[in-house]
Symmetry: C2
Subunit: 209 residues, 2 copies
């Protein structure tokens, strides 16, 4: 089983690493990080370099594609990259699952893959899915046909474990969860935007994001 | 505020990316990924290349150091790297916090930094802390003096948010949590080793880890 994860300048590292970290633990699964071309990309904050080991021209077949989200400028650049969007559409014709984390769903939308479908995305981008004739779902992970999309950033971990269960069965997925010690205990209960006050939303806008 | 995250061949990506993803969102925080020397490293599974932007010789001051864990072979190599361990001890003399995720605590231990202290680590490595005169703590995040250590892999996310609150206050940390949509909803409840059956532990041993 081959899973491709698309990388680009501006990507959010946890969006890509969250699902990778569980899926990479499954025996028989190969994960390749693919970019517009092979080479380094930087996260949106500029702090971390990740390597795309192959370019999209070299990857025309895969069992699954996962598209992570990123900072606004990075995602907007990808939305205008016809060569990337065309590649995703071609690849999607052969995948069993096409997936996104966070604002990666906007990129899938721009590739024409979410027309008439429900999809998750980062709460801060929820109004944009309609530009691609998709309907925002506030679920942490949304399945619509073969498309599996998640909410923002950390939600990709939950999406990844769900894919693990599909690929290898629930018992193995639970062993993966144990190997990652994924028994989350956030120090605060502030992760859901539906509970956020206007002051909290304003505080998010002041972050380095 | 400068936070260094140490990278090495065999590192577990989520161990490093978990705390980075929250801390990088704090205004005024700079994160540098540092390796034995500047250049690429690979995760233990070989699937992902991460870049160390600087080498240890270039980083003799920082406010915080975070050491992620990794696969057995990678961590064992670091345990014998006197130059790395010496660097950590020198750096530790000036940090306000020295931290680890997962088996990163074994590396801190080998650097002599956890003598007589309680520390967390990956459950699968809990017997090894005693080699460094440290006592295993089953807490998800353990504080002992200025040392903050977490349990395996995904626990670094919780450690990161705790550091965010220390650095920038609880309100800002909660905004960071919201920006990461960290409202975890694991599909299964299998992440705590104290609940694991012998069959489950045997299943972990068969994974690609």
């Amino acid at each position: 089983m081959l899973i491709l994860i698309y990388l680009y300048d501006g990507v959010t590292a946890l969006d890509a690493v969250g699902p990778y970290e569980s899926l990479s633990r499954l025996p028989g699964v190969e994960i390749r990080f693919v970019g517009r071309r092979a080479g380094p990309v930087r996260t949106g904050d500029g702090f971390l370099g990740l390597n795309a080991d192959t370019g999209i021209n070299d990857e025309m077949e895969a069992d699954m594609l996962i598209v992570p989200g990123g900072r606004r400028a990075g995602v907007q650049r990808e939305l205008g990259e016809e060569r990337v969007l065309g590649w995703m559409a071609v690849l999607d014709a052969v995948t069993t699952r096409t997936c996104s984390v966070c604002t990666g769903s906007l990129i899938l939308g721009a590739a024409g893959l979410l027309e008439g479908r429900r999809a998750s995305t980062h709460w801060g981008a929820r109004e944009y899915l309609s530009h691609f004739n998709a309907t925002y779902s506030a679920d942490r992970v949304t399945e619509d046909g073969k498309y599996l999309t998640s909410a923002g950033v950390s939600a990709g971990i939950d999406l990844g474990l769900r894919l693990c269960a599909e690929i290898a069965g629930r018992e193995v997925a639970e062993a993966v969860q144990l190997s990652m010690e994924y028994d989350p205990d956030p120090p605060f209960k502030a992760g859901n935007f539906r509970d956020a006050t206007p002051e909290r939303l304003a505080a998010v806008a002041k972050l380095n994001i």
